[in-house]
């Protein structure tokens, strides 16, 4: 009898937990990132153990270590450091250590892929070190939010949520950093394709309604980089009260490029030299590292501009 009650109770518990963390919708987030009905408490044990159960108290670096346990190719097909799948396809997000973006592609409407990996020149941090979150917070409040600790989990929800690439709807909740809205739920694609043959792409696009044609990812990236989301006319109309991000390239409109058309989400192998390598950080801080100027861009120097504004 006791066993039956316990059995029923643990059933209830599973349902409750699944409801709490799964967000309800039955969806296939792939791998162990399962939101919805297929969740069992046992599947939690893959990541939550005696030790990692204290994940919240663990150093940030070990959260990323958890992800790399599989995403190095030994537990998932996507190898995020190498920017490639185990099958050899180039990852859409680029890579953290190597990437395969053909950053010299002369095709006017394309940025192709390379046959082999090149060392990245810039990437989002994943080690939880303190970083300047460029453009976060309100206009006129300096270049960004200082001391943001970025890991994989800042952007992705390890428990799955049915969104595109399990992206968190509101990533910038850490330590007082601000986000613009209640959150951006980027709808998932079906079938899922992690690789690309053309990096010159806006990513998932809003299908219908007043915002049809606009890129989801521009709004999503701007959950952290709030002041980079620029509506039509931003190139000629200054952002009120803003000394730093005054005139901005449109990034929000259907005709304008999305953030990921110019930038790789994880990291890029673009080379920068000459003036491009010396463009200061917002606020005027000089670039110190030799490769520091590449800013996750998908083409060498400012080659990305020439795709749409040929000389």
């Amino acid at each position: 009898m006791k066993a039956t009650v316990l059995g029923v109770l643990s059933g209830v518990l599973v349902v409750l937990l699944a409801g709490l963390w799964g967000g309800g919708a039955a969806s296939a987030d792939n791998g162990p990132h399962m939101s919805g009905q297929s969740v069992t408490t046992d599947s939690c044990a893959g990541c939550h153990r005696a030790h990692t159960a204290q994940a919240a108290n663990l150093l940030k670096v070990s959260e990323t270590a958890l992800c790399s346990t599989c995403h190095d190719g030994s537990g998932a097909t996507t190898m995020v450091d190498a920017g490639v799948t185990t099958g050899g396809g180039a990852l859409r997000a680029g890579g953290f250590q190597q990437a395969r973006i053909n950053t010299q592609d002369s095709n006017p409407v394309g940025v192709g892929v390379l046959g082999g990996g090149q060392t990245t020149t810039s990437s989002h941090s994943t080690d939880g070190s303190s970083q300047e979150l460029w453009g976060n917070s309100t206009p006129g409040s300096g270049p960004g939010f200082a001391g943001f600790q970025l890991t994989c989990i800042s952007c992705h929800d390890p428990h799955g949520n049915g969104n595109y690439r399990i992206l968190r709807p509101a990533p910038a909740s850490e330590g007082g950093a601000t986000d613009t809205t209640a959150g951006v739920n980027v709808p998932d694609e079906s079938p899922k394709v992690y690789t690309t043959t053309n990096y010159f792409d806006n990513g998932p696009v809003i299908m219908s309604g007043a915002n049809a044609g606009k890129s989801w990812l521009s709004s999503w990236c701007a959950q952290c980089h709030t002041r980079y989301l620029a509506p039509g006319g931003s190139a000629t109309t200054a952002l009120p009260g803003e000394p730093i991000f005054k005139f901005r390239h449109d990034t929000q409109e259907a005709y304008a490029p999305s953030c990921v058309k110019c930038h790789a989400a994880h990291g890029s192998n673009a080379a920068v030299s000459g003036y491009a390598a010396q463009v200061a950080w917002p606020g005027g801080t000089a670039v110190t590292t030799a490769t520091g100027g590449s800013r996750l861009l998908k083409m060498d120097n400012r080659g990305i501009c020439l795709k749409c504004h040929p000389r």
Binding site: M1, K2, A3, T4, V5, G7, V8, L9, V12, L13, L16, L17, L20, G31, P32, D42, S43, A45, G46, C47, H48, R49, A50, H51, T52, A53, Q54, A55, A56, N57, S62, A65, L66, T69, C70, D72, G73, S74, G75, A76, T77, M79, D81, A82, T86, G87, Q98, G116, G117, Q118, T119
Partner: protein
């Protein structure tokens, strides 16, 4: 589970109705309180209820079958090691997953020897696991090369293992039996499996396919074979170990869970034939579980790592047992090989 239920009468006498309703309501209240309590504990501590301090663990204490081995030192200067293997002469081979991505080699005392490289540059190689054949040749699986590459002990390239399928493969974990047959896991998307290949390159046996049913695998990251030819597979994505006899018939499973001896993310696996022990690395438990396999059913025995002599591991991945009763653990995030000695 439900055998006791039969002791109760099927139909309650009518006068018990009110009492029963009350009891059921009370029970439900209890259930709700308990669920809320467990959920709250989990929310706050992130620990399953059985591991929350102050709540007594009612499971039987694990009995030690023998003195567990002692931690005796580390070999450093390996970049996020994934795999480790011991040669008959006591040499140690280690696959690196970061930095120069080499296969580092050390003598039995931990002195560095010539490294092995599986591709021209760090950008064109990605060594995964390593095993040493009975004749001392070093076999390395490489994700970038999609091959098992063969080397002489001094690092001289000596060809590669013929793929078991004409379309190629994505070899992962490796092990040898005494006859020199190679046991390998195949991580080719959509067709995860275990293959046994004889020294001439003939496919002798193939077990399983990708999936979660018994006999199927998700990203198997460890394979070991004992003196009887029984095969032990770390079915990492499904969080379990599956054992098979030499013809591939299932023997037992060690499953995923949070109780003592349960697994989370099993990776490297190794057998100590003399002591009849099975070593299974549990990467997310940061420990190596050790099971007594002298009987048909495996018995959890002890564990290396967090609760052993204070020596902690961080995302350990590979394990090997050498001829001198030493246990070598590829301690990935601590960037070392941790060594225990019997």
């Amino acid at each position: 589970m439900t055998s006791n239920a039969q002791d109760y009468p099927r139909h309650q006498p009518p006068h018990l109705g009110r009492w029963l309703k009350g009891a059921v309501a009370l029970l439900l209240l209890f259930a709700l309180a308990w669920v809320a309590f467990v959920a709250l504990q989990y929310q706050q501590t992130g620990k399953p209820i059985s591991e929350v301090a102050g709540i007594k663990n009612i499971g039987p204490l694990a009995k030690l079958v023998q003195e567990p081995p002692r931690f005796t030192g580390s070999v450093w200067e390996v970049a996020r090691p994934l795999g480790v293997a011991a040669a008959p002469d006591g040499s140690i081979y280690v696959t690196e997953s970061a930095g120069d991505r080499m296969v580092k080699s050390f003598d039995a005392n931990g002195q560095a020897k010539a490294s092995i490289v599986t591709g021209e540059s760090a950008l064109s190689r990605s060594p995964l696991y390593v095993a040493v054949s009975p004749s001392g040749k070093v076999y390395v699986s490489d994700l970038e090369r999609h091959a098992v590459l063969i080397f002489a002990p001094d690092g001289q390239a000596a060809g590669q293992v013929a793929p078991p399928s004409s379309e190629g493969w994505t070899p992962g974990a490796l092990a040898f039996d005494a006859a020199g047959n190679l046991y390998a896991t195949d991580l080719t998307p959509g067709q995860h499996r275990v293959v046994v290949i004889d020294p001439d390159g003939t496919l002798l046996l193939q077990i399983g396919q990708e999936g979660s049913a018994p006999g199927q695998f998700e990203f198997p990251n460890g394979v070991a074979v004992d003196a009887q030819g029984n095969i032990y597979v770390s079915d990492s994505g499904n969080g379990r170990v599956q054992a098979f006899d030499k013809s591939g018939h299932p023997l037992f499973m060690i499953g995923r869970g949070t109780s003592k001896g349960d697994l989370g993310m099993p990776r490297g696996i190794a057998v100590d034939n003399g002591r009849k022990l099975l070593y299974v690395v549990d990467a997310t438990a940061h420990a190596v579980n050790v099971y007594d396999i002298s009987n048909a059913a495996p018995k959890y025995s002890f564990r290396l790592g967090d609760d052993m002599g204070g020596e902690s591991l961080s995302y350990p991945n590979g394990v090997a047992v050498d001829g001198n009763g030493r246990i070598l653990v590829a301690d990935k995030e601590n960037k070392r090989i941790a060594i225990w000695t019997n």
